[in-house]
Symmetry: C6
Subunit: 255 residues, 6 copies
């Protein structure tokens, strides 16, 4: 059952975790072997940093299409790290902020992290943090420059460790902006492409395995976000029951 309790994965030391709870409130599905490997890789990197005698900074860039589940994945890693300082830097907290205000808040979070023995910071949706838009293109160079430096800046005290997870759906552009180079490790979160993966997700929403199989065959390469939303809409429309036809109908209207 995927409605597992989140209690088990909360960090221990009074950490501000509202941002993470919210992200994982719908539960977290480990939807297959490929996904699991990525999950384990990331956890290993966190352990690496924790145990290293010399490395004090490790950074991972998580890329993938819109709705692939990047933010949820990053939140999961953060919750499981058990680090006393975990913090999500997300554009949702910056709506209406001036560039200077945003910059000050980001800087403050990193400064706080440098004071904790073990810290994990998620830089969520980097394109939104730097206010990137293709037309122009335009972006906040001040925030970009700050991130370029911050992802490479080690805590000045040798005993402090910092793990950084960045998420983006436009990795190729971040690369042009010199930001990809700054991360030590690159991980790509794919869409749901194997039939079994899609079935696995649907199983956690509806019990009718046959229907789930049908749907999975009809909609390959779907973002998990879209899959869950459409399934919900279809169940409502179907009076509590998920049918392939209604699912496909809803699938069309969201295109």
């Amino acid at each position: 059952d995927f409605k597992m309790s989140l209690e088990e994965i909360k960090p221990q030391f009074g950490v501000d975790q509202s941002g993470f709870d919210n992200r994982l409130s719908g539960g977290f599905i480990d939807y297959g072997a490929g996904f699991n490997t990525l999950h384990e890789d990331c956890k290993a990197l966190v352990e690496n940093l924790k145990n290293s005698e010399t490395t004090s900074l490790l950074s991972v860039l998580l890329s993938g299409e819109r709705g692939a589940g990047k933010t949820a994945f990053a939140a999961k890693i953060a919750m499981e790290s058990g680090f006393p300082f975990v913090k999500m830097i997300t554009p949702e907290d910056f709506v209406g902020y001036s560039e200077a205000g945003k910059l000050a808040k980001i800087t403050k979070i990193f400064d706080d992290a440098y004071k904790s023995p073990l810290s994990l910071i998620v830089l969520d949706d980097i394109e939104r943090l730097i206010e990137f838009i293709h037309i122009g293109p335009r972006f906040s160079n001040h925030i970009l420059q700050a991130l370029l430096v911050l992802v490479k800046k080690k805590p000045s005290n040798k005993d402090r460790k910092l793990f950084i997870i960045g998420t983006t759906s436009i990795k190729s552009i971040l690369s042009e902006l010199d930001l990809v180079d700054g991360f030590n490790v690159n991980i790509k979160l794919p869409l749901l492409k194997e039939k079994e993966e899609i079935v696995e997700v649907l199983n956690s929403i509806s019990d009718d395995e046959a229907t789930n199989q049908d749907i999975a065959t009809a909609c390959p390469n779907i973002p998990i976000k879209e899959l869950i939303l459409i399934a919900e809409m279809a169940i409502q429309k179907g009076g509590g029951v998920l049918s392939t036809d209604i699912f496909l109908e809803c699938y069309e209207t969201t295109r």
Copy 2:
């Protein structure tokens, strides 16, 4: 008779609805089967959100040419929702505002919405909200970035529901600006293209069915806004009577 009372569709809980009243003061015409389907689809989405256990945010982008009736349609949906918090964010309220002032007001409205159990926000004429102009092109990146985040940001409290309706007449450009992706559902409101649709609208203005038929034949693919204005002008010119000739004369002068 299309001069139906608006009283019936007012939201119940003391909501600020001046913006909506004004938009619908000329009455609301359900001008045919195609239009009715769109109307019902939208109402169903609102119901979906209201009843969902897991979905807390649903957003619809309403596109269509200038004068197609988008704002009136959005206002109608809002009035019919029965949600305690309904609010129209319209460029008409921002004339003379600075970018910062505009941003502050938009943010405030969303923050208020997050505090209500059921909220509906109309982002009217998004191109004007972001001050878009083709030459350049120029637009307020700050407001665009805020909208990019706001249309995807769920209320932090799981029990709060938010329905967002955006309207635009330049969907392809909003798409380049990454804003279309942010909406869950896309609906296109077409011009009056079937003869019956035009007749239906004219019937609500003048009783002479034959003339209405003539006019409908002569002017296919007309925005409802233009149709109503020209009919009014023609009736005045005709001393209270609508004739095809005078209608076509007025039709010419507005080109």
Copy 3:
């Protein structure tokens, strides 16, 4: 005699009309059938709005080359409307204003208009109001956006009526700026192109019909502004008498 008294066409209710008086201080010549038709059309539109039960906003865009007489024409319509609130928004009143100051003043005038039962606003020389220049091109996007909204914004009170006249000599560019679409009606004021039109204007300045005919033959397609200025210069040079030769001489020096 074209030196008719302006007293008769002043609005009745203590309206600020300095702007209009000044524009018409040289008198107003109805120089032919074509011109007269435009004049009557405009007056009819004003009447339309006054008498309409449903229409609360009507807007006309007056285009034509530099010196064609657009501002004078708009002032004339305004004076003849008899509306209690008539106001000219002209770049001449904004010299040295900041963008914000300009915006505030424009907004104020519209807000005042919304409080009057019948209002007429002239947006004179829109390209100058938005500080447009071809090189770049550059313009004030803030003021443009305000105008884009204002020309379409109805008074919130259903009993208030607003008539807007815009003038421009670069209609094709305003069209690219999406501003032409915002106006309900488009009227083009041509240069003086018929011989009789030119003679009509000259008759109001000098009595020698034969000479006036000669000049009219020599200078087709002249802006009324230029025609009147050159005639004045020629009369001075000719010691109070208008001769074709001197007129043509002056005509050359102003090219």
Copy 4:
């Protein structure tokens, strides 16, 4: 002798004329028939305005290459006008001014002019006033827009007359900036191109007619500014005497 007294051409009514005195301190040479015609034409325009019953604003744009003598010519016309209010608006007075400060000062001068029965304003070196530079191109759009309006704005009081002289060495660019159209009359001040013109200027500096003839033959199409400077340098170098060889030597070093 060209060292004629300036006393005779000073305006009568306590006008601020330091700007003009300075410009003409080296004397003013009427160097030939062509030049004289331009001079008389301008004086006639000033008289025209003074005597006109209907024209309240007349504007002249004086164009010509760098050093052609435009500013001196404009100053001369201003001094000779006898107008109680004559004022030169020159970039030399604006060094170190902000755009806003510059704008305020220009506006102030025009406002003062509107209060005087007869005013003459010189807008000297318009390209510098608007801070134009070819690369970009860049210029102050605010100041340009102010000038675009000011050169066409009549004094609001019918009894006030305003004469405006603009000078520029880049007329074709001012034309692209829509500024040339705003002037009623266009006058081009040529370089010294006739041999007699050059000799006339040299005569006022040195008495040796033969040498002056030689030099004039060797250097056609020279700006008067350059001619006078080089002659001075050559006389110094020649120990008080002007020789063709030394003149040509100096002529080379200034290329």
Copy 5:
């Protein structure tokens, strides 16, 4: 053993050296003949300046790819100089600074240097200091202009000596920005390209010479930064032992 004590190379006179200590906290490896030559060359230049009677300013630009070890190298030279004033100007200290704030701090450091008899300033990561980004391209022209002047400005007092080391990984662009010309000497720090160089570095981390040889053969042209990080990760993964296979695995994940 490369864990040599840093005590020996600390400057004597109470210099602020936190920046340098931090950079060299992982030890400093002299990994071969080529590297050693560069090291000696730089030390000679420092000595040159110290002993010169006439030269008061010497500047070196250190270029090389990301992670080549430029900052560590510059820090090493600085520590070994024995100069009483050594200071690193690094973007890491400027996160969240405004352009003006950054400029003020840079200026202050140079002003302090001019007051010390012997000073050494490291301008680390110049592209970050000037906030350069390829898209646009964009950069802070104010900071660039300050650096253009500062790298050439001699202490006003003849007895003061200043040594400047700049580091960059985009020398060709700094060249377009006229900044390379400003430095007296150019030094390029290559990647680890000789097999012996790589082995030398690995020896300082792990004792198994054979494995080190294998790895060196497999990964030519690697930045020292990457080499050290991957080796650390591999050792952790290998339970404290470095194996070629695990190294290459980690090598892949960081691509």
Copy 6:
């Protein structure tokens, strides 16, 4: 001997000359006939202005490649002028200044100059004063416009004389920026290209004529700045003696 005393060429009247002293502290070498001619020409121009009855402003633009000796040359002319007011406007004094602050200081210096009977101002490194950079290109238009006016603005009092020397290494760009036209005279300072010139400079540093001849043959077309620096480095490296081999070695490292 080129270590001549600077005492003899200091201006007499308590002038601020720190800027000039500093520039010439290494002595000044008159390295050949070509150089001497330029020197004499400039001195003659200064004398010209001093003695002229009519000319009150003379300006010279000194161009030449980086390190050609422009600033030293300008400082020399300034020191030898004997003018009571001599001032160097150099970017070195503006590091960290805002555009407005820089503008104010430049304006102040010129205003002070207008109050002195004889003034000489050096506008050193004009490209740096206007913050020019090729990419874009970018520059401070405000400062450029100020310089465009200031180099042509005569002291308002006829008895005041002002000599201006500008230096630049990008004359062709200053020409595009209309700044070259503003100067009365253009002088180009070439690199050291004749063998004798190079020998002359080396003689002032080392006594071994044969070696100096060898070096001069090997390095034609060298900037004097580079020649002196390399010679110094080579002497140090050679233990106090200048040898051709070591010179060429140092010559390579600075490329």
